[in-house]
């Protein structure tokens, strides 16, 4: 089945590319912060997921069907994997902070709710 010519798919590709560029640019603003790496992972993840869409739309006439399928599947899996990694990193940071916060009453003898 060919996806070339689908307007909705084109819109999805454009949105995906814009989202990955914007996310990457924002990650540069957070240089040195704990959120820098997750943002880069998100940007790469969105880009790879978009690449899978690009592959099925534009690469079908260029590469063999099997190659296109491979590019599509691998980039989609890698993209989602990177986004999962970013989420894990953010969760780990937030859990660490919450864990420390929960420990606080033990450290403070006089008054803490």
């Amino acid at each position: 089945m060919s996806f070339s010519g689908s307007v909705l798919l084109m819109v999805a590709i454009v949105l995906g590319l814009i989202a990955s560029v914007v996310t990457y640019m924002n990650s540069r603003k957070l240089k040195g912060e704990v959120f820098e790496k997750p943002m880069i992972y998100f940007a790469l993840g969105i880009f790879l997921a978009t690449l899978s869409l690009i592959a099925v739309t534009f690469f079908q006439g260029v590469f063999s069907e099997m190659t296109v399928e491979l590019i599509h599947d691998i980039s989609f899996i890698l993209g989602l994997g990177l986004m999962l990694l970013a989420s894990v990193k953010l969760t780990r940071f937030l859990q660490g902070l919450s864990g420390f916060e929960k420990k606080l009453p033990k450290n403070l003898p006089s008054k803490v709710k």
């Binding site: 959120f35 902070l97 420390f100 606080l104 450290n107 403070l108 803490v112």
Partner: protein
Amino acid sequence: MVDIKSDLDANQTLLLIMSSVEYNDVLVDVVKQLSGNICYVTTNKTFDSLKEVFEKSKVDVKNVVFIDAISKTMKKVPDQGESVYYVSSPGALTELSLVIGKFLRHEFDYLIFDSITNLLVYQKPQMAAKFMSSLINKIKKTKTKTVFYGIEGGDNSSIIEHTGTAVDKVIKSDGKVGVEKKVVKGVGKKEVKKKIIKKVEKEV
């Protein structure tokens, strides 16, 4: 001597401006004066160095929780230790804001921010000013009393002026904190002049 305690009784947020000469004495003096739970945010000295300074001055730090934003820029440290939470860098304003916000929920009696002027080493003045406005607004929603330190000199005036307009009171350290000005005989300008005149007279 700066009476922070009485100023904090009347105001929730203070900006304490000092020179770098007084800095070390002021930070010990302020913590000594404040009794209660303190959240100490440091962007200047590392946690280890601060602990050493306080221990030397016999200041009890059992009721102090530190947010250290400087150690991670120098050495490898874990995310947290006992009574200390490490932030990536003083320039990591999003992270710093998130951590301070989380700590403010604990209703600390006092928060000490040491120092606003050091943010300029790691961030643009505009970003630092925005961060300060947001932080002060966050603090005003809580009951925590806050002292911001500002060190005079260099290009620090912009952040000091901006924060000064946002806080309830601005105090300029009088220079008497822990430093006694002693007049040493024979080294004043007049004495030097007299000595020179005597020397010249002898030679003539």
